[in-house]
């Protein structure tokens, strides 16, 4: 018995490693950076270059166009549409197309991010290896968030992503504002994590498992058998508490207060990292948890190495452990129906949160005078838009699984677009800080006369954040709204119609504050109070900015291929 177990574990772990390759490469990069400091001859190598190489290697290992199918022996590269959903490490993680897409986006972002830190002056000090290590560590955590399949993993991943982030905010030791922001962030994060952990323990206690697909099975059984009032209370409490932890990462209202302060205190580069990579991971995690608990159909296949499942049963020692297999079609349909209250509850609560977050973010942004605070509120609003993609997935899951999967793809499309435009906007903030030393919106006055490239790119990026065609932001918004509209028309849930209306009206009102920045840059004249530009950004900086802006401008021409790739990847998310 013991040897069988060890045997299974070994095979399982070894097979799983390939699916975990990108994370492993990132970890190895961290080790290399740390080791490099120890030797005299490698000490002077800039750690950012190592990190860039490491991220590139991670991207190659991940191989987004033809990822490794590890359910075959030996693992083979297959088209992303044919990638099966499998569990890694005895069910701790899940490896599927959706995860590959989001991880790809994050690693691409990481590459662009490291290039940006090379081009700006904020992170050039001798702390640079520390900073790089923290960024890589946080990214590993985020990759784990994207592929979590077990609530313990959810918690660990969130912590692994958060703790380096706290330190990144405080990386400039002389900056008191940064330290204050980091403290706020850490305290807030710790509290949210505590509440979440409590919620997790409640949920696991009621459902007798911490493995998300097993929990969903148990939940559907309980739901089919009829739940008592006490059980419902506990489940609702537990899910709300877990949502607190997720909402903190998403900076969703009412757990958003840290966001503007942290963005203001941290450098613009760290702001870019937190607003893009961290949001992408949190949204992916939201999908993993919400869809994982809400749909039995979303259960991944166990890895080929231990299909018989006895090893796992032994491991978890759960009395009524039952592997959710897709073949049990008849049973699944009845379970599908029985989970509908759960889906409606989760969908409704996420929808309310999304609507409130979006509206609040947009309204609060009106009054901002600091560009980083403005972008922080804009990030909050965009988190709201992205969360809007989740309720239709849940609503459609029991009606039309193909459509539900496509809705998840729309979210990934939004994330892809958002990555570029927000990175660009923060890059502009970093350049302007380097050139003028100011981060106030009024010091952007007359930017069009002072530096045309910055003004034009920033205008394009901000208008794209509004979501106006023909810029890329529209593609994302269109996709997410299309998902909501589709969910509404297919299910007739009125709350989705309200969500759609809220989203659309928000688009219109968000115009006002983005355009205010544009107005300051293009229409307002430079006066003596405007902070002077000590130097102008170099050709490399501007080239980088145009490289980020050009796709935003041109994506409309060819977003079909991006959409096709994403849709192929998410096809198996719910089946």
């Amino acid at each position: 018995m013991f040897f069988t177990l060890v045997n299974h574990l070994t095979t399982d772990t070894l097979t799983s490693l390939i699916g975990f390759g990108a994370e492993l490469v990132l970890c190895a990069t961290i080790v290399v950076i740390l080791l490099a400091r120890m030797f005299h001859f490698t000490e002077r190598i800039d750690s950012t270059w190592i990190a860039l190489l490491g991220s590139l290697a991670a991207l190659v290992v991940l191989s987004p166009l033809a990822p490794w199918d590890i359910s075959q022996q030996p693992a083979q590269m297959v088209a992303i549409g044919n990638l099966p959903r499998v569990e890694l490490f005895t069910g701790m993680l899940v490896y599927d197309g959706f995860g590959v897409v989001i991880k790809t986006l994050m690693i691409v972002f990481l590459l662009l991010f490291f290039v940006l830190t090379k081009l700006t002056s904020a992170h050039r000090s001798q702390d640079s290896p520390d900073f790089t290590t923290l960024v890589l560590g946080a990214t590993v955590g985020m990759c784990l968030m994207v592929s979590a399949n077990h609530v313990l993993m959810v918690f660990l991943a969130i912590e692994m992503a958060s703790v380096p982030s706290y330190a990144m905010v405080a990386i400039r030791r002389v900056d008191r504002k940064g330290s204050e922001a980091a403290l706020k962030y850490a305290v807030y994060g710790a509290a949210a994590a505590g509440v979440m952990l409590y919620g997790i323990s409640l949920l696991c206690g009621v459902l007798n498992s911490a493995h998300i697909p097993t929990m969903a099975m148990k939940l559907s059984e309980m739901s089919a058998a009829g739940m008592t009032g006490a059980e419902i209370t506990i489940l609702v409490m537990a899910s709300l508490m877990i949502l607190v932890g997720l909402a903190f990462k998403l900076s969703a209202v009412p757990f958003h207060q840290w966001c503007p302060d942290v963005f203001e205190g941290a450098t613009a580069e760290v702001g870019a990292f937190l607003s893009v990579a961290s949001k992408a991971a949190a949204l992916a995690l939201l999908i993993r948890v919400a869809v994982g608990l809400g749909c039995v159909e979303s259960a991944p296949l166990p890895l080929a190495a231990n299909t018989h499942g006895e090893a796992k049963a032994a491991l978890f020692n759960v009395a009524d452990e039952k592997q959710p297999a897709v073949e049990e079609a008849a049973e699944v349909t009845s379970e599908t129906k029985s989970l509908q209250p759960v889906q409606t509850f989760l969908g409704l609560i996420i929808a309310i949160m999304a609507a409130v977050t979006c509206t609040f973010g947009n309204l609060a942004a009106f009054a901002q005078t600091n560009i980083k605070r403005l972008l922080a509120y804009s990030t909050i609003a965009h988190a709201g838009y992205m969360m809007m993609a989740v309720p239709p997935i849940l609503a459609l899951a029991s009606k039309d699984v193909a459509a539900a999967g496509e809705c998840a793809g729309y979210l990934a499309l939004y994330i892809a677009v958002y990555l570029l435009m927000n990175l660009g906007a923060f890059a502009v903030v970093a350049y302007v800080r380097d050139c003028t030393g100011s981060e106030e919106i009024r010091d952007y006055a007359g930017m069009i006369y002072r530096n045309q490239s910055i003004a034009i790119c920033m205008t394009i990026l901000l208008v794209s954040l509004v979501g106006l065609p023909p810029l890329a932001g529209f593609v994302g918004k269109f996709a997410v709204f299309a998902g909501v509209a589709r969910g509404y028309l297919a299910t007739g849930e009125t709350y989705l119609a309200i969500l759609l209306a809220v989203g659309c009206v928000n688009t219109a009102i968000s115009l006002f504050y983005y355009l205010r920045v544009v107005k300051v840059m293009t229409i307002d004249p430079v006066d003596e109070e405007t902070a002077p530009m000590h130097r102008s950004p170099g050709i490399l900086q501007l080239g980088y900015l145009w490289c980020v802006t050009a796709p935003v401008l041109l994506l409309i021409v060819g977003w079909d291929s991006l959409n096709v790739w994403i849709q192929a990847a998410v096809r198996g998310l719910i089946s």
């Binding site: 193909a402 208008v463 106006l468 065609p469 023909p470 529209f474 269109f478 709204f481 299309a482 509209a485 589709r486 028309l489 297919a490 009125t494 119609a497 759609l500 209306a501 659309c504 009206v505 688009t507 219109a508 115009l511 006002f512 355009l515 107005k519 293009t522 229409i523 409309i556 977003w559 079909d560 959409n563 096709v564 849709q567």
Partner: protein, 586 residues
């Protein structure tokens, strides 16, 4: 269609874009080069359009004997969302296309007075032109939406940077209003898309709607082959093709399912689209952006705004609202017509009260565009009434002609106001007078254009108004009387303005020394507008020859729908109600 024709049609949109990119590489200091270059680009848009308008070319000339879409360009664009790059011209869009190209050319001529940041101005101007041409040519709803929005940002800057004292306020107000309208349009677009189902259409209908699909080898499928393919599909086949949506709206029940509060999908879609388009038209009470935008915008932009942009609202209503959602259009006929009449009356009274010359012209636009909404809204059948498609067709034609006529007269009026504003730098109606003595040629042209705006018989404004007012009689005598009475108000504010500005003994306002006769450049801009105002007034058939077939066809389709679908429904409801009444009688 051969390659040359393909290139020429597509160049109507992309010439300005290429021109804008080319402008970026020209030196910013050489202002006259920039202006002449931009003028040449607008001419390059105008000439092919005129060439299409003239008979004689076998491949390109506009075919006036067919109601169908011509010069079709159809390329797969975003297959994963069934979006195509689908352009085409028919009798509804072509006159507006002609108007756009002409006004854009003339307004560029009027842009010589712009002296600040000429390069950026020209780039934005050309992007705006591309957007306008695209809106009138695109037949894919998604593409239409993109072009619709493409215009907003250039317009914001054109008002916000080159405008008058309150330019920033006016620009953001314009932007917010229009964006609000377009997000409503976006909701309607998604609703229609996800409810559309091409499987409901027969092969001939698919062919008529230019529904295209390509097989793996890139060969275009025949309608029959496509029909077989989609019939095999398990899921609905969605489409953004406006023509296919029209067919679905008229020949299937896909948009009839109840949505919210007992109203059908098409009812909601119609309402959202109508609000979106009414903001653009603009109709009272959604018009308040227009006077601000007009007053603050520089003269050429006012010309574009009044001459072209307002027409997009009307175009959207006739192209999208009615053919796709006929049932809702029928039910909401009173709403639409009342909005139209109310705009006419309110706009006329507001114009009467203005002291600012340009604001007065702006409110006259609100009033005149009310005719367009009224004419499009006329649906001369209510339950039990005599059904009369003739007056209906008259209303639509009148509305479309009114759009052209107003495009010419209002662009002319704004230009004329701009001419004196350039000289004396104020627009206060009460401080003018006696311009006739100092600028006789200018005054003659201005009065001609103002009379055209007034709707004097023999000038272009008359035909549209007369057609619309006549068509309303069958629907409602009251509305017809009110709309006819508005003509008196119009005459009042225009004649009063002419009296205060051009007549009178002498000019007493500031800068009297600057009042010099109109220059040759200004004459060249005003002259075509004056000539067109007269020619279209005397020979309206010049425009109707493009309109007739397509409008007749559209009205015939909707008449058929009314007779075969709507009237039986209404009669059945009536009979049911009668039965109820009879049953409840003691």
């Amino acid at each position: 269609m051969d390659n040359v024709a393909f290139l020429i049609v597509i160049s109507l949109i992309f010439t300005p874009v290429v021109g804008a990119i080319a402008l970026l590489f020209l030196p910013a200091e050489n202002k006259s080069l920039l202006r002449w270059f931009t003028l040449a680009v607008t001419l390059l848009v105008l000439l092919p359009t005129l060439y299409i308008a003239l008979p004689g070319s076998s491949v390109l000339s506009f075919q006036t004997d067919t109601a169908n879409i011509q010069d079709v360009i159809q390329v797969a664009w975003i297959p994963s969302f069934d979006i195509q790059f689908f352009l085409g011209i028919d009798g509804i869009s072509f006159p507006l296309l002609l108007l756009t190209a002409l006004i854009a050319f003339l307004a560029m001529g009027a842009s010589w007075t712009i002296d600040k940041h000429v390069k950026s101005y020209c780039v934005l101007y050309l992007l705006l032109l591309a957007g306008m041409m695209g809106v009138f040519m695109s037949l894919d709803f998604f593409l239409f939406y993109i072009f619709w929005e493409v215009m907003l940002l250039p317009m914001y800057f054109l008002i916000g940077v080159w405008g008058g004292p309150r330019k920033e306020y006016a620009a953001i107000k314009f932007f917010l209003y229009t964006l609000f309208g377009s997000v409503l349009m976006l909701i309607a677009l998604l609703m229609l898309y996800f409810n559309s189902d091409l499987r409901q259409l027969s092969a001939p209908q698919l062919a008529a709607a230019h529904v295209a699909a390509w097989d793996d080898a890139g060969e275009r499928l025949s309608p029959e082959a496509f029909k077989t393919r989609i019939d095999a599909s398990e899921y609905p086949v969605h489409t953004f093709n406006i023509l296919a949506l029209q067919q679905l709206g008229q020949h299937s029940e896909v948009f009839d399912q109840a949505l919210l509060w007992g109203k059908s999908i098409q009812w909601w879609a119609f309402l959202l689209l109508f609000i979106g388009f009414a903001i653009k038209v603009p109709s009272v009470p959604l018009h308040t952006w227009l006077p601000d935008a007009h007053v603050e915008a520089p003269t050429p932009i006012s010309m574009i705004l009044a001459g072209v942009l307002l027409k997009m609202g009307g175009y959207g209503i006739v192209r999208i609202c009615y053919p796709i959602c006929p049932d809702a259009g029928y039910d909401l006929v009173w709403v639409v017509c009342s909005v139209g009449v109310f705009s006419m009356v309110y706009g006329a009274f507001a114009a009467l009260a203005q002291k600012d010359f340009k604001r007065m012209v702006a409110y006259s636009s609100v009033s005149h565009m009310g005719y367009v909404v009224l004419g499009l809204g006329v649906w001369s059948a209510t339950a039990g009434n005599v059904f009369d498609p003739i007056s209906w067709s008259m209303g639509v034609k009148g509305a479309l002609f009114q759009m052209i006529g107003h495009g010419i007269s209002s662009a002319g009026m704004f230009f004329m106001v701009g001419v004196i504003y350039d000289r004396v730098h104020h627009r206060d109606l009460n401080q003018f007078g006696g311009l006739y003595g100092k600028m006789p040629i200018y005054t003659a042209m201005a009065m001609l254009l103002f009379f055209a705006g007034l709707g004097l018989p023999g000038l272009c404004g008359f035909i549209g108004e007369a057609f619309v007012v006549l068509s309303v009689w069958k629907l409602s005598g009251t509305l017809a009387v009110i709309s006819a009475a508005v003509v008196i108000l119009t005459a009042a504010y225009i004649l009063w303005a002419i009296q205060r500005v051009y007549l009178g003994p002498e000019y007493k306002g500031p800068h009297p020394e600057a009042l010099t006769e109109i220059t040759w450049r200004e004459t060249l801009i005003a002259l075509p507008l004056c000539v067109l105002a007269v020619v279209l007034g005397v020979f309206p058939s010049l425009m109707f020859r493009y309109l007739d077939k397509t409008v007749d066809q559209q009205v015939a389709d909707l008449t058929e729908w009314t007779e075969q679908v709507k009237l039986p429904q209404l009669r059945a409801q009536q009979a049911e109600a009668d039965q109820d009444v009879a049953a409840n009688q003691p």
